[in-house]
């Protein structure tokens, strides 16, 4: 394995980087991991927004239901949702699995399909009381 034309051995012998650089790299990667951890602790979303073609519709997440769009099957299971089946060739969308946190989304580009979890703090224009 080589990095910028240096072998692993040369890198470890501090030819490319100096000792302090490794410290900075370590701190940097730690921040990434910590913030990723924070990212996974995000609150759960409240509803599912599905855009299919030109249409956008919203569904409550608090239900057990299978929604069928022409080529795609979406499963909602009490707070989480996933693309269950799709006719696309690489099946990336199916591989994404369950989504449940705010602003997470699953997309199937060949079918122009996008679903994302939204939060209730999302904008509204006025309040009825």
């Amino acid at each position: 394995m080589k990095l910028f034309g240096y072998s692993m051995r040369e890198i470890l012998l501090l030819k490319l980087f100096k000792l302090g650089d490794f410290l900075i790299f370590f701190i940097f990667i730690s921040i990434v991991i910590i913030s990723l951890n924070f990212y996974f602790q995000l609150p759960k979303g409240d509803y599912l927004e599905i855009s299919h073609g030109n249409e956008t519709k919203q569904y409550t997440l608090m239900q057990n239901k299978t929604l069928i769009f022409d080529e795609i099957e979406v499963e909602i299971n009490m707070g989480k949702a996933k693309i269950k089946k799709s006719n696309c060739s690489n099946q990336y969308c199916v591989m994404q699995g369950w989504i449940s946190k705010i602003n997470h989304s699953a997309v199937c580009i060949p079918n122009l399909f996008k679903m994302s979890i939204k939060s209730k703090t999302l904008s509204y224009d006025s309040t009825n009381y």
Partner: protein, 165 residues
Amino acid sequence: MTAQTINIHQISKFCAIAIILHSAEFFFPTPIFGIKPGIANIIILFTYLKFNFKSAVYVSLIRVFISSLIIGTFITPTFFISLSGAIVSLIFLFLCQFLSHKFFSIYTFSMLMGLGHILGQFTIVRIFIIPDDGVYILFPLFLLLTFIFSLINAFIVSKLISPSN
């Protein structure tokens, strides 16, 4: 020519290159929303190494102002994001001067400048553009990309300063 005029001549040349890189970046298509490698940072770091911190400040700020005029984003949110990124990045560069050159190479410099850049940008975005904590979702992604691009930028700088290559 005195030494000073040579200096100004060189700095303005660097400014011109920084402006070109900065503007070129702007017009490249974006595969992922809001991400650029910050190649202009190469010049800032190079200026710092070749001359001094003051010259780097000149080049960085002149680049932000002039290229925003060229792109047409002067006094728009994009401009302020760039400016705050550049300023915080320069602050980090200033602090880097106090690091021991025995233990820290330009990779550290580049890394910390990149970090400063996104910190400055995120602050402005969070306060003025998208006043929602949702923007922090993008933070780990930006941090990771900063890591990668800073590494590459620093490598380019190292190639530029060592004439052997």
